[in-house]
Amino acid sequence: MIDKRVASIADAVAGVKDGSVVLLGGFGVVGQPQELLGGLIEQGARDLTIVSNNAGFGSPMLPKLFALGRVAKLICSFPRPTPPAFEELFKAGKITLELVPQGTIAERIRAAAVGVPAFYTPTAVGTRLAEGKEIREFDGRNYVMERALHADVALIQAWRADRWGNLTYRGTGRNFNPVMAMAASLTIVQTRHMVELGELDPESIVTPGIFVNRVVHVESPDPPPA
């Protein structure tokens, strides 16, 4: 029997190695898997590269991970408002920030997921975020070449999941989660609801279980009002 369910947060994040590239789902705190982040803090892996749209403002857990000095690099589109924990490390030169346009992050992650090593995009052409990158003209317009962004681990917040790892999301909690879920060697999911195999409508599954390695059931609270 295929059973990707694990009993605890500790089991879910077991084995994350030092130096891992970690994709962190969520847009702000909506869809950000707090309990898995808490598990990662406990678990102890260091020298991490975190890929997250934001730097953790309003997040109970991400600033803690920064404050503990566990993150070497953040790949991010919008690290504002900036949590003090990140800002201090950044100003002290103790953390690297790779600033990437939001759509380019999403597409680089998807590219990794679908076996595309590189693609061209019009985003950032003529700006300092394209400096040093290959520019190429197609049909009279310039484009930047961007590379696939592969990861070791993805931390995902789902709404419903079954034992095969099929997932659905809720509202804008979807955001980066389905894209990131496809792109990591080890995709770890916390789900608000665990359902029986066959309960999810095949037409409405957003992330097919093939992309998922571990699922843990966490009755996490709703995001706070914003």
């Binding site: 847009f27 702000g28 909506v30 869809g31 749209n53 730097a55 309003g58 589109s77 919008f78 690290p79 504002r80 900036t82 990140f86 800002e87 950044f90 100003k91 920030l97 600033l99 990437v100 346009p101 939001q102 759509g103 380019t104 999403a106 597409e107 992650i109 998807r110 995009t121 019009p122 985003t123 950032a124 052409v125 003529g126 700006t127 300092r128 975020l129 809720r170 509202g171 804008t172 909690g173 979807r174 955001n175 980066f176 989660n177 389905p178 894209v179 957003v206 709703d222 995001p223 706070p224 009002p225 914003a226």
Partner: protein
């Protein structure tokens, strides 16, 4: 009628009037993304019954108004991370699909704030220097490069009265040659191959007074 100084009898549009002036020009059926700040006021001024579909880059088409405080679904936020509602006909999708929509030119309009707009359509709206403490760009570059048309909604000058409509941007660019129109508190200005063309001005504003607070050359049309 004599020409007067801009501080004299001019009645600049206020923030609500700026949003309303722009909203007037959005026809039914457009798919529209609104940036942070001023542009978020626009939906309030779309005339009742005119269907315009608002996109939020975090995966929503058909964004509705802010919910009453006792009916908030906190799983629904917009790009500014405010709680929102969905209108009938709304759809939800993931970030790669959402930015595919943006980059692929499917949005009829994006309205962004800006620090500067140049006469060739360059926009600078994400960084005020080459060494911001913690820089942030979000989806601004994708939206600028990808939308069918980009309109900028901003104050005509800085708080110190310095021009923001310029021959060449001094701040780091968000995208090159993309702005189609600028709505300010003083005027509506098209970006054309011939440079800036003034379409409309707030009450009391003259081309001369407008030019006086604009670094780039303006022409009046129509």
């Amino acid at each position: 009628m004599t020409t007067r100084g801009i501080d004299d009898v001019v009645k600049p549009w206020d923030r609500q009037q700026m949003a309303a002036r722009l909203a007037r020009d959005i026809p039914e059926g457009w798919y529209v993304n609104l940036g942070l700040g001023l542009p978020t006021l626009i939906p309030d001024y779309i005339p009742e019954g005119r269907e315009v579909v608002f996109h939020s880059e975090n995966g929503v088409l058909g964004m509705g108004p802010v919910p009453p405080k006792d009916h908030v679904d906190t799983w629904l936020v917009n790009a500014t991370k405010q709680n929102i509602t969905l209108v009938k006909g709304a759809s939800l999708f993931h970030h790669a699909d959402s930015f595919g929509m943006i980059r692929g030119g499917h949005l009829d309009l994006c309205v962004l704030g800006a620090y500067e707009v140049a006469e060739n359509g360059d926009i600078a709206n994400w960084a005020t220097s080459q060494n911001d403490a913690v820089p942030a760009v979000g989806g601004a570059m994708d939206l600028s490069a990808g939308s069918k048309r980009l309109w900028v909604l901003m104050e005509h000058t800085t708080k110190d009265g310095l021009p923001r409509i310029v021959s060449r941007c001094a701040y780091p660019l968000t995208a090159a040659c993309v702005v189609k129109r600028v709505y300010t508190n003083l005027a509506v200005i098209d970006v054309t191959e011939r440079g800036f063309e003034v379409l409309d001005m707030a009450p009391g504003v003259t081309l001369e007074s407008l030019q006086a607070c604009t670094e780039a050359k303006l022409r009046r049309v129509g």
